[in-house]
């Protein structure tokens, strides 16, 4: 259900259903892609593959949760890819010095700190977050290289990679964490003060400010959350790979934005939800996995992703127009 609105002109159940669908069309899209790939590949609808999709999607998914918070605020965070690389490098690199869990904690902290820095810069300077975090995208990657000295860092003990190897049926721990976080943040959005403020700030920042919401502090919190979630993603990635690549997470920020927008959350803020983001993340994961199962060459995959994205936007546009009349 869309929790952000109640339609005043609500008529029959059919109409409510239709308007729900219009606001959540990503699920239709997801069902469609799933149907297509199930028909096209016998391996697609296997428990094992579904498990893979969920795990693979979870990484972008966790980034997307933070991005959704920031985007509903009407902002954007381009630095999540670099942030996750730093967190993963710290979580692995510090293990020999301070032990596994303290290292993981420091990794998380680094994400929170960078998110805090982004948020503070946005709030204090009044610069567009696109600019601030574009700077971060470049500079934080520099920090990663300074720390790793250009090398991929490896865990001292590969049992670290078995931490997320807990399964609930075919569903991995990573996927569970993703869904857990998504539900938690959906609850934040719909039921807590901070969540409602997020909509208020993104929707009409003047009104939110005039109503006494501390817009600056609010944005700093959301950027910090976004950075922390990027770090969570980085740490899970380090557990998956057993290695911290200095180039980890390159262009993931773009995939993340694509997933969130595909879901229906608006770039200009004020509208969106975690449900939509889950839909977008899964659609993206299904598309990438399905194309791989169909053995499509690399260039086809790139072209299909581009085309689908544009298609989704056009569809969204058409549906909105439909809704308007």
């Amino acid at each position: 259900m869309s929790l952000t609105s109640t339609d005043i002109r609500s008529g029959s159940h059919l109409r409510i259903g239709l308007s729900w669908l219009l606001r959540n069309h990503i699920w239709v899209f997801l069902a469609l892609t799933v149907a297509v790939f199930s028909l096209a590949s016998p391996y697609f609808l296997t428990a094992n593959n579904i498990g893979n999709i969920l795990t693979q999607g979870a990484f972008i998914g966790i980034l997307a949760i933070g991005m959704t918070m920031v985007m509903i605020d009407g902002e954007i965070d381009l630095s999540v890819g670099a942030t996750l690389a730093l967190a993963s490098a710290l979580a692995i690199g510090l293990q020999t010095h301070i032990g596994i869990w303290p290292a993981v904690f420091v990794g998380l902290l680094s994400g929170a700190a960078l998110g805090f820095l982004n948020g503070t810069l946005v709030a204090l300077s009044g610069m567009h977050s696109f600019i601030v975090t574009l700077g971060g995208l470049i500079g934080i990657r520099g920090l990663v290289f300074v720390y790793t000295g250009e090398n991929a860092l490896m865990v001292p003990d590969f049992s670290y990679t078995e931490i997320p190897e807990i399964y609930l049926g075919p569903i991995s721990m990573t996927a569970i964490i993703f869904f857990g976080l998504a539900f938690f943040f959906q609850w934040i959005l719909s039921s807590t003060r901070h969540g409602r403020e997020t909509y208020a700030v993104g929707d009409n920042i003047e009104a939110a400010h005039d109503a006494g919401i501390n817009v600056k502090r609010h944005k700093i919190i959301n950027f910090t959350l976004c950075g922390t979630l990027a770090a969570v993603c980085g740490i899970l990635l380090s557990m998956r790979l057993g290695t911290a690549e200095p180039n980890a997470g390159r262009i993931w920020e773009l995939w993340t934005i694509i997933a969130v927008v595909l879901g229906g959350t608006r770039l200009q803020g004020g509208f969106g939800s975690m449900w939509m983001t889950i839909g977008g993340v899964l659609t993206l994961a299904v598309l990438r996995n399905g194309l791989r199962l169909l053995n499509t060459p690399n260039y086809v995959e790139l072209m299909v992703m581009g085309a689908v994205l544009i298609l989704a936007l056009v569809l969204d546009k058409l549906l909105k127009r439909q809704e308007a009349t």
Binding site: T4, I8, S191, Y199, A211, G270
Partner: protein, 502 residues
């Protein structure tokens, strides 16, 4: 009279380049409606924003309930009982009504969860106290402007405010909505609330207020009891002279027909609209907010597309034009919302003025600055617009001066037909009567003029002929002696039954 509830002493506020408030003192007593009037840019909104914790003043003191007041921010002001209802609505369209009423002040439990039930209940109480016809769960964006304003006013109930400030609340309300608002204000007043009322509409000022404070160039010109004063005195205090006439009607000498519209329809907005206007004629278009007048003229101008209908320009039938073609033909539309539709706020007055006529101000696409400056200067002085220079961003100007630039940009094309959508909304009396004179002038020069207004005296005062519009249909036409307030009200309030044209 009782002790002042809020007292301002000698406050000063400077913006870069402007002294918005200069040693201002005034007070508000419980149970009174205190009017604040003044020209555009006099500093009214600034003064009120200072009281509501949105601006910090540079000097001076504020006393609230006898003690010096220091505000940490707008929420603090609201919590202490000072509520500002903004000139531009200050709400969040995606949130529900209940959430908007308590915007930023939501109660939460120990776990940071919203007390949704309590929020709803309190909001319902506040809405019922005002007699609003909608519930707390409605998404705000689906409400009309008047309803949204009621949501803002509901905050006064919700926070049990002691001081409520209305900054031009009736700018986008119809007369009946205004009456409802006034009832609400009287209700607040009866409960001992001190009310500040800012408006450019003098009839309202004399209708509802007890005292009037006049502001001019950031300074207080004086405070008078409403009962002891009259329009002329207030006008003189505001603009330093008196006005002989508030409405001027152009001489009724009509030439050829300029525009004729037949059977114009657009699903969901208006249907079967037909009218025509001649050279030298001022055609009024009256209706309640939401009647579809703006949409109708926007369609004629070409910003929107019609579903059906025919359009005749100077007797010849033409295809539906684009705005560009309309402008080139000699049509001009002064849109109702200056900030969204009228101006490029970061451009200066010069560039805004020439924006619709780039071809006229350029030679082979190269802009001719001298020609641009000459025209800019002509209309700036003709409309006496206050700026620091041709390139000062119009966003820095007061609302009234902005509105004058919107007029300038259309007048400089010397069009054959000018459509004015709420041209005097938010404009002070002095400028307002200047605009009325201008309308008369234009008509006498042979232009056809269409004026949309929700102010009945205005529409009757300036027009030769009035169309009444209701729910997307033109329901009646009045001219001559039939142009009376009673007829107009009558026609638009019987929405579905067509009133015989006289």
């Amino acid at each position: 009279m009782s002790q002042a509830i809020l007292k301002v002493e000698g406050i000063t506020k400077t913006f870069p380049g402007v002294k918005a408030l200069d040693n201002v003192s005034f007070d508000i007593r419980p149970g009174e409606v205190h009017a604040l009037v003044g020209e555009n840019g006099a500093g009214k909104s600034t003064l009120m924003k200072t009281l509501a914790g949105l601006h910090r003043c540079d000097g001076g003191e504020i006393f609230y309930q006898g003690a010096p007041l220091s505000l940490s921010g707008p929420l603090d002001a609201r919590r202490k009982g000072i509520l500002l209802i903004h000139q531009e609505l200050s709400l969040s369209p995606e949130l529900s009504v209940a959430e908007n009423i308590y915007l930023g002040a939501w109660q939460t439990n120990r776990f940071g969860m919203l007390k949704k039930r309590e929020l709803r209940r309190n909001a319902t109480t506040a809405l019922e106290a005002l007699g609003c016809g909608f519930g707390p769960d409605v998404r705000l964006g689906t409400l009309s402007v008047a309803m949204q304003q009621m949501v803002e006013i509901a905050r006064a109930e919700a926070f049990s405010a002691n001081v409520v400030i209305f900054d031009e609340p009736t700018a986008s309300l119809t007369d009946s909505e205004k009456d409802q608002l006034f009832q609400t204000i009287r209700g607040l007043k009866a409960r001992g609330v001190g009310i500040v009322y800012i408006s450019h509409k003098m009839d309202e000022i004399f209708d509802i207020t007890d005292r009037i404070t006049v502001l001019r160039d950031g300074q207080v010109q004086g405070t008078v009891d409403t009962a002891d004063t009259d329009l002329n005195q207030i006008t003189r205090m505001m603009i330093g002279r008196t006005l002989d006439a508030y409405f001027v009607k152009a001489k009724a000498e009509f030439g050829d027909e300029v525009l004729r519209v037949e059977g114009l329809s657009k699903r969901g907005l208006f249907s079967d609209a037909s009218f025509s206007v001649r050279q030298g004629e001022v055609l009024g278009l009256y209706g309640l907010v939401g009647a579809g007048r703006s949409e109708l003229v926007e369609t004629v101008f070409g910003v929107r597309r019609a579903d059906a209908g025919r359009l005749f320009w100077k007797g010849r039938e033409i295809d539906w034009p684009t705005p560009r073609q309309s402008i080139d033909m000699g049509m001009a539309l002064v849109p109702e919302s200056r900030k969204e539709q009228g101006l490029v706020l970061m451009m200066g007055g010069r560039e805004n003025t020439s924006l619709p006529h780039l071809r006229r101000f350029s030679d082979l696409t190269v802009m001719n600055r001298a020609r641009e400056m000459a025209v800019y200067e002509k209309y700036r002085s003709a409309l006496s617009i206050k700026t620091t220079g041709p390139d000062q961003a119009v966003s820095q100007l007061s609302g009234g001066n902005q509105q004058k630039f919107v007029l300038a940009k259309w007048l400089c094309a010397e069009p054959g037909l000018i459509i004015l959508d709420e041209p005097t909304r938010g404009i002070d009396v002095g400028s307002k009567s200047a605009i009325h004179e201008l309308i008369a002038d234009l008509a006498e020069q042979g232009l056809a003029v269409i004026v949309i207004s929700s102010e009945m005296p205005e529409v009757l005062g300036v027009s030769h002929r009035v169309l009444a519009m209701s729910e997307g249909s033109i329901v009646a036409e009045f001219k001559g002696d039939a142009m009376t307030e009673e007829h107009l009200i009558d026609s638009v309030s019987h929405a579905r039954e067509p009133v015989a044209a006289e």
